[in-house]
């Protein structure tokens, strides 16, 4: 018999708001509160909020924590020079495959915070702990914390409006991909939607209070359904779909997150990536827009000249473009058009570079 799903500090809020829930990585999470398309539009046009408390917050401390992270991660935390600055990175295995993607915050010379995915919590923690030992770094999973992501063009203003003048000012002064302690709260100008906004880490008791305040300020509750359509429009990766432990970051559109310079920095998976880079990478991640009715979905074949040439890794219907979009692993030299096999038929698709949408604006040329 499987274990009952875990719930976050906001479960009663979700149920009271009529959320339809699903088991996501062992957590009972809201998929939508009525209409995921409406929730999607709320984020693109105004402000929406997501309970992301299921994600794993890990605090790392020690004299050698910076050295540790420079070895553990494919991106280089030495790039973070100001306190509060954050970095998006992959964590690789010895074969250069992606164990997880994550955000790391530089909070002090001996203190960094990492946020990893919910579904990969166990293997991520085991991996981090194992490699932390030789650096003498303490690994502290913050299971005492909840997280609410507020996203949209009006998100930051609505959040700041709930705080005192001093805190509000500090929050609004945050640059993109930066974080700060605001009172007892940890506020980061990060997100997974392609819109501006904050991700706020608070303790479990505070979370429902903040949620209610945000609700009263007109922020719409949004579920995992909208979260997926938003991130896909923004060209953002979903671990487990767009990449996994067998995927090198170089072949799935994450080469930009790998810091080969400085050359003296050894990191887990480096030698495998260097070999692959030097041999020439033959696939890339493309943004596909389906030209006819239908929905792109993971695992569909990409067809070029009548032959299978690649695979869709993520697909959905884009509420902003009003047609189906997807990310696909395709030949590096793929041109502007291809087909996708959907339920036995070959449907035409146009090929673009991600993202499809950023800050509410469509970024791909549509026919």
């Amino acid at each position: 018999m499987s274990q009952p799903a875990k719930v976050t500090s906001l479960i009663e809020r979700h149920r009271a708001a009529g959320a339809r829930t699903v088991d996501f990585g062992g957590w009972e999470m809201p998929v939508h509160y009525g209409s995921q398309i409406e929730e999607h539009h709320a984020v693109r046009g105004d402000a929406g909020m997501f309970d992301v408390s299921h994600m794993t917050v890990v605090d790392l401390a020690g004299e050698r924590v910076r050295d540790f992270l420079r070895y553990l991660l494919a991106n280089d935390v030495a790039k973070l020079k100001e306190r509060g600055r954050a970095l998006y990175s992959c964590m690789l295995n010895q074969r250069g495959g992606v164990i997880d993607d994550l955000i790391v915050y530089f909070l002090g010379d001996t203190f960094y915070r990492v946020v990893v995915n919910a579904a990969t919590r166990d293997k991520d923690l085991a991996w981090i702990e194992r490699h932390s030992k030789s650096f003498g770094v303490t690994v502290n999973e913050r299971a005492d914390l909840s997280m609410i992501a507020v996203q949209g063009p009006n998100a930051r203003a609505k959040v700041a409006g709930l705080y005192s003048a001093g805190h509000s000012e500090a929050m609004l002064a945050l640059k993109p991909f930066s974080a700060a302690a605001v009172g007892d709260d940890f506020v980061a100008r990060t997100g997974y939607t392609g819109e501006d906004g904050f991700e706020i880490i608070i303790d479990h008791e505070r979370a429902p209070i903040l949620w209610d305040q945000l609700l009263a300020a007109g922020v719409a509750p949004c579920g995992l359904g909208a979260r997926d359509t938003l991130r896909l429009e923004a060209g953002m990766h979903l671990y487990g779909q767009d990449m996994d432990e067998d995927t090198l970051p170089l072949v799935c559109g994450l080469a930009w997150t790998v810091a080969f310079e400085p050359a003296e920095r050894d990191f887990i998976g480096r030698s495998v990536l260097e070999k692959a880079r030097d041999a020439g990478v033959t696939t890339r991640l493309a943004a596909l827009v389906l030209e006819d009715r239908g929905v792109l979905r993971a695992h569909q074949d990409v067809i070029v000249d009548g032959k299978v040439a690649g695979k869709v890794t993520s697909g959905t219907f884009s509420p902003t473009l009003k047609r189906s979009i997807g990310l696909a692993q395709v030949p590096a030299d793929l041109g502007e058009r291809c087909e996708v096999e959907i339920r036995g038929r070959h449907i035409a698709a146009s090929v673009h570079a991600p993202p499809f949408v950023r800050h509410g604006q469509i970024k791909v040329a549509l026919s």
Binding site: Q36, G294, T316, F317
Partner: protein, 128 residues
């Protein structure tokens, strides 16, 4: 709790049937079905004039979650389809028993409707 109107007939695959006075039937999917599918983005309707046997897949509704076949509830000829669904598939979510109707069928045998579940039987089946 999903809505199950008393005056309709139902199939195990979550289609509803309304019998018109002239013996033709109107077909759609139930409130339970639209809720399970989520926001619908495309509907593939059958061609008017085509004949289908009971149990034949004759239409498709597609949401971001999944594509789902709609099965012909009783044998007959498609007499009308709801054109509004082409541009507004969300009508099925908003009014599954009203403006979200999918097609009308002229049954081969008017009595075939009696083989379908009534509201109570369908409601019971949802509890299992």
């Amino acid at each position: 709790m999903s809505d199950v109107p008393e005056d309709l007939h139902f199939t195990a695959s979550h289609e509803w049937v309304r019998v018109n006075e002239d013996g033709s039937i109107v077909v759609g999917i139930t409130d339970h079905a639209q809720e399970a599918l989520g926001d619908l983005v495309y509907v593939e309707t059958p061609e008017e004039g085509n004949h289908y046997s009971a149990g034949d897949a004759c239409a498709v509704v597609e949401s971001t979650k999944a594509a789902s076949d709609i099965y012909c509830p009783i044998s007959g000829v498609i007499s009308e389809i709801n054109d509004a669904l082409v541009d507004a598939p969300e009508l099925i979510n908003e009014q599954p028993y009203g403006d979200g109707w999918i097609m009308s069928i002229q049954p081969d045998n008017a009595d075939d409707v009696e083989e379908l579940m009534d509201a109570e039987a369908y409601e019971d089946s949802l509890q299992e």
